[in-house]
C-alpha cells in the first residue's frame, strides 16, 4: 500500500459568481496537521467537505495514497474521521448508545467507558444526549472521532462551545494523534497550540492574491 498521504492540487470553488478560493494546494504526510483559517464564509467548510469527498471542487484534484478519489471517495472513508458542525448525535439515545451504535465504529464497551471518562463525561454517559449541554455534546462527538482510530482527522470547528479545559485536552489528543503518525485538517477561530509546527492555510489571502 502507498504511504499515507493526502494531496490536493489546484482546488477552486465558486458559489454563484463569487470565487471562494482557487489554486489551493495541500500536501499532508504522516504526522502533519493543517490549520485552515479564514473569515466566515471564506469556504473553510467547503474545502473540508471536498477533502472528505462529500462534494466536488469546480476544478482541481484530490489524492489519497496516490489515488485520485474525487469521483469515488470510498478508499479514503475507511481511514477518515470527519467531525462537521453537527455532532451527529440522536437526542433520544444516551451518549453510550450513540457511540456504541454509530455504524462506522466497532468499539468494545470498555473502550467507550474509557474514552468517555477521558473526556470527563462519566456522569453523562447514560443520559439521553438531548438533556446535555452543547459543549458536552461536542465532546461526545469528539469521542466518536477518537474511537474511529482513523488515520486522517477532518475537524470542522472542533473547539465550538468547548471550555478551556477541554480545549487543552483536545490539543494534547491532537498531538498524540500526530505523534502516532496520524494526520489532521481542522478549522478554528481560536489560536491552536500544537507541539509540532502545523501548516497554516489562510483562505482570505488566496482570494486577495
Amino acid at each position: 500500500m502507498n504511504e499515507a498521504r493526502l494531496l490536493a492540487r489546484g482546488l477552486a470553488v465558486s458559489r454563484g459568481r463569487r470565487q471562494l478560493f482557487r489554486d489551493i494546494d495541500i500536501e499532508l504526510s504522516s504526522g502533519d496537521a493543517l490549520h485552515v483559517t479564514g473569515a466566515n464564509g471564506s469556504g473553510k467548510t467547503t474545502l473540508l467537505r471536498i477533502l472528505c469527498g462529500l462534494t466536488q471542487a469546480d476544478s482541481g484534484q484530490v489524492f489519497w495514497r496516490g489515488e485520485n478519489y474525487g469521483q469515488s471517495p470510498e478508499p479514503l472513508h475507511g481511514e477518515l474521521a470527519y467531525l462537521s458542525h453537527h455532532n451527529a448525535l440522536y437526542g433520544d439515545l444516551t451518549a453510550r448508545e450513540n457511540l456504541a451504535l454509530a455504524p462506522a465504529l466497532n468499539p468494545t464497551p470498555a473502550a467507550i467507558t474509557g474514552i468517555l471518562n477521558r473526556l470527563s463525561l462519566k456522569a453523562q454517559a447514560d443520559l439521553p444526549t438531548r438533556v446535555l449541554s452543547q459543549g458536552q455534546c461536542r465532546r461526545i462527538a469528539l469521542c466518536r472521532v477518537l474511537l474511529q482510530q482513523a488515520t486522517l482527522w477532518v475537524l470542522d470547528e472542533p473547539l465550538n462551545s468547548l471550555d478551556s479545559g477541554s480545549q487543552t485536552l483536545l490539543e494534547s489528543l491532537l498531538d498524540q494523534h500526530l505523534e502516532n503518525g496520524g494526520m489532521a485538517v481542522l478549522t478554528t477561530h481560536q489560536p491552536l497550540s500544537l507541539a509540532g509546527a502545523g501548516q497554516i492555510l489562510c483562505l482570505d489571502s488566496e482570494v486577495a492574491g
Binding site: 470510498e74 475507511g78 451504535l101 454509530a102 455504524p103
Partner: protein, 225 residues
C-alpha cells in the same frame, strides 16, 4: 475491524432502538389509519351493502395516507443532526445503509398496519375469504409505498416546504399499488382468484427492493452535495 456486516447490524440496531424510544411517532400513523377508516361509513353511508363494496378501497386509501405521514421525518431529523453526512463517509455503500434504515422503518410502521387491517376490515363486513388477499396485498404493497416515498423524501430533504412537495410527488406514484391492492380483494369477493393482482404487486415489490435503496442513495447524494 469494521466489517460490512458489523456496520449494517449496528445501523439496524440503532434504528430499531430509536423507533422504540420514539414509540409515539410510530403510533401516530396507526391512529391516523384507524380514524380515516372510521370516516368513510360516517361520511358516505353506513349501509352494509355499500360498505362491503368500498371497504377494500377505503382500507387501502387509508393505508396510503398513513404511510405518507411519516415520510417527511424519514430523513429530515438525520439531515438536521448531521447523521446523514456521517453515513456518507461511512466505509459502506450508502444504499446498503439506507436499505437497513428502510427495513427498520417498515418493521416499526408498515408491519403493524398490515396486522391491524383485518381488525378494521371486520366492521366493513368484508368476507373472511377476502382477508388473506387484503393482508397479502398490504404485505407486498407497503414496502413499495415506503420505497417510493423514500426516493421522493430523499429528493426533497433540505428544501423549504418540502413536505407539501413530497406529498405531490408521491401520491400519483402510489396509484398502481392502490389499483392492484384493492383489485386483489375485489377479485376474491367476486369469486375470482387474487393471484394476478398479487403477482403484479409482488413484481413491484421486488423491483422496488432491488432498485429503491440505490435510487434513494443517488437522490440523497444529489440533495446533500
Amino acid at each position: 475491524m469494521t466489517t460490512l456486516n458489523g456496520i449494517l447490524i449496528r445501523q439496524l440496531r440503532r434504528e430499531l432502538l430509536l423507533a422504540y424510544r420514539r414509540r409515539g411517532d410510530a403510533l401516530t400513523p396507526l391512529l391516523f389509519f384507524i380514524i380515516v377508516i372510521t370516516l368513510f361509513p360516517l361520511g358516505i353511508s353506513p349501509e352494509k351493502v355499500l360498505l362491503q363494496q368500498f371497504g377494500a378501497g377505503a382500507l387501502w386509501i387509508a393505508a396510503l395516507l398513513a404511510s405518507m405521514l411519516s415520510l417527511q421525518r424519514l430523513f429530515t431529523t438525520d439531515h438536521g443532526n448531521g447523521v446523514l453526512e456521517q453515513l456518507l463517509v461511512t466505509p459502506c455503500p450508502l444504499s446498503f445503509l439506507l436499505a437497513t434504515k428502510l427495513m427498520a422503518h417498515w418493521l416499526s410502521s408498515g408491519l403493524p398496519l398490515v396486522f391491524l387491517s383485518p381488525l378494521l376490515a371486520e366492521p366493513f363486513g368484508l368476507e373472511w375469504s377476502t382477508y388473506p388477499a387484503l393482508v397479502a396485498g398490504l404485505l407486498l404493497g407497503t414496502p413499495v409505498l415506503l420505497i417510493i416515498g423514500a426516493i421522493s423524501a430523499a429528493l426533497t430533504v433540505g428544501l423549504r416546504g418540502g413536505g407539501l412537495l413530497l406529498t405531490l410527488l408521491t401520491l400519483p406514484l402510489y396509484v398502481p399499488v392502490l389499483i392492484f391492492g384493492t383489485g386483489a380483494v375485489m377479485a376474491v369477493s367476486r369469486g375470482m382468484s387474487a393471484a394476478p393482482h398479487l403477482s403484479l404487486l409482488g413484481a413491484m415489490c421486488l423491483v422496488s427492493l432491488t432498485f429503491g435503496p440505490w435510487l434513494t442513495a443517488l437522490a440523497l447524494k444529489i440533495s446533500l452535495d
